[in-house]
Symmetry: C2
Subunit: 371 residues, 2 copies
């Protein structure tokens, strides 16, 4: 056996994530590794926390990055907030609502499913009915930005309904964070998770999370231990907690955090509102170009995520062949359909650093060439 | 708020990990991010699997890197192999045996603890007694290389005892992999986990694991679902599994895996046996230098890990002040004591890329300067 160093091609990443990572972020990841308890590293972690509070628009103390991908961020929210026997209302309008159900059940909870069609936003009326039918529910969970469909739900209204019925709200913001308006404190979200590789345009592997004081209180008052040692917030917070004091819990992914830090500095430089506006403007340009080619969208305009454009594959077009040609001839990655939408749609991301005119032009011209 | 890019100092990392990451590995991490389902990335993942099989000395199909630090690798082993009600014999001779107990209990199992003094190897006779007293035990777990003490246990003998009594064996090899002889197939280890940031000298954030066919069979025959969705091997293997086909499970930490790949290529270039010998030779040089300064070791010579030298802090020396001066004046990190050994010992790592003459000289001369 003799295996050589790996030299990846330079792709343009317009799938559902990872998105293009800027040279600044890549350079940051290559800076010298320091110890995870080094005072300079702890200072950087404090900055990551402040920057995450900014992008989440929150003052929540319990705001940090889980040392693993978004799926672990999801599990962190459920494993800490669901106790055995808890009833959780899960709104599903795509793949990731189904994964929430799996999480609830594996934590010993009961999931009550509220179903909406894939490609639609979550219907607040259906949630309200479920809350009325299940007054013993303690949590509501939904996906703000469904990565499998490109649909955006009205997080503010859904959280209000949850609170009105005495439930805390868990929100999946994997694809929304930094791409579309999201205001954790103003909307009173209790637990939220995201991923580093979508609109933040850092490398995959970290999951930003934030918990309201009410959620933190529920976690400290648990009757049973959190079933995951690695994700137990009562332990993790000894490490990410305040006043510069860090108790060893696990070894943080040092260089990945360098990259996340740099990506957050870039968002701060642009300004969050400017980033949201840029995503929206670029969506409109891409939309016009696609529609001129006769390509139509899965999601109605008012529910559409600007950073994730899910479109129907034109009749008679070979899904896999087109994506392979885009990749091989143009170094362009777009996303396949997921779950029930496999083979029916493409998912074209305009996320973070990848949401720019050059990428739109490349996508439109190469699609024209291969279809 | 205005936070700038982070520029870490260049440290020499001679603590219990992370160890020095070579420029080759840092450069690899900065290569362009590709999609986690990109054919070139899948090819690289296949190479990572082959290289991990080499460093673990195994042909186990179920060999891959968990997308999170070593603590999650530990949890991956326990969450998949322990079912509610299972009795697990845990040998403890340091901090990490205690963490194994936590894992067993959080998985709904019962832990029978076999205690040895911190700094000693696990005593096979005590394990055998426990196995005789608990014929209903189904698993034995122990730490091959205790990162909190620097003691090495006789993994081959302990696994033989487990098998003789019908148990599978889970082994913590976080600090041993690639630093000291470890032969998964020859010793018939059933489940093993390690970390990327010790003797492999990659950045922290990944946990190499391997499972024997017997362990894989126990996992597929479970009565209950694995409590962690993220770590459920029945799902993860759809992604890391054979024949180049990858089902989406979670988004792999792409750039971290570039780094791990490069670090494994470096081990392959040196040759595993040469790496083991280098660690041993450098340990002897450091040991002689430390003993000439009147510094003595916690662990008896025959049980000592060459890559982790745990020494008593000389009488009258201020632990924290010395470590701070080493860091500030010499950019040198050595490790503090952990748990019961806090304030009593230092842990001086000579791991992977950091196990070299320059580091030994720096450590000895700067310790001489500050003590």
């Amino acid at each position: 056996m003799s295996i050589s160093s790996f030299n990846p091609p330079r792709r343009t990443l317009m799938g559902p994530g990872p998105s293009d990572v800027s040279q600044r972020v890549l350079d940051a990841m290559a800076r010298p590794t320091v110890g995870h308890l080094d005072p300079t590293f702890i200072g950087m972690m404090d900055e990551v926390k402040s920057l995450l509070q900014y992008v989440f628009q929150t003052t929540n103390e319990l705001t940090f990055a889980v040392s693993a991908p978004g799926s672990a961020g999801m599990e962190c929210c459920f494993a800490n907030l669901v106790e055995p026997g808890d009833k959780v209302i899960v709104c599903q309008n795509g793949v990731f609502g189904g994964r929430m159900k799996e999480n609830v059940e594996r934590c010993g909870g009961t999931a009550v499913m509220v179903q909406d069609d894939w490609g639609c936003a979550v219907d607040p009326e259906k949630l309200e009915q479920a809350l009325q039918q299940h007054p013993d529910a303690v949590l509501v969970a939904f996906v703000h930005a469904e990565t499998s469909t490109g649909a955006q739900s009205d997080a503010k209204t859904l959280v209000e309904l949850a609170h009105k019925h005495g439930c805390l709200a868990i929100v999946d913001a994997v694809t929304s964070l930094a791409g579309t308006p999201l205001k954790v404190d103003e909307w009173q979200i209790d637990a939220i998770y995201s991923g580093s590789q979508k609109c933040l345009s850092a490398s995959p592997g970290l999951s930003p999370v934030s918990f309201s004081p009410r959620a933190a209180e529920k976690i400290s008052n648990r009757q049973s231990k959190v079933q995951s040692w690695f994700l137990d917030l009562n332990l993790v917070m000894g490490y990410w907690g305040g006043e510069g004091k860090r108790a060893y819990h696990h070894t943080a992914p040092v260089n990945c955090l360098y990259g996340l830090h740099e990506s957050l500095v870039i968002v701060q430089e642009e300004g969050l509102e400017n980033a949201w506006a840029r995503h929206q403007q670029n969506h409109l340009i891409l939309r016009d170009g696609l529609e001129q080619m006769g390509i139509s969208f899965l999601v109605a305009e008012q529910d559409r995520l600007p950073q994730l454009n899910t479109v129907f594959i034109p009749d008679g077009v070979d899904d896999a062949a087109v994506r392979t040609r885009l990749l091989n001839d143009f170094n362009l990655e777009i996303g396949a359909g997921l779950g029930a939408l496999a083979g029916k749609v493409w998912r074209i991301g305009l996320m973070g650093h990848a949401s720019n005119q050059r990428n739109i032009d490349l996508c439109l011209s190469s699609l024209r060439a291969v279809i």
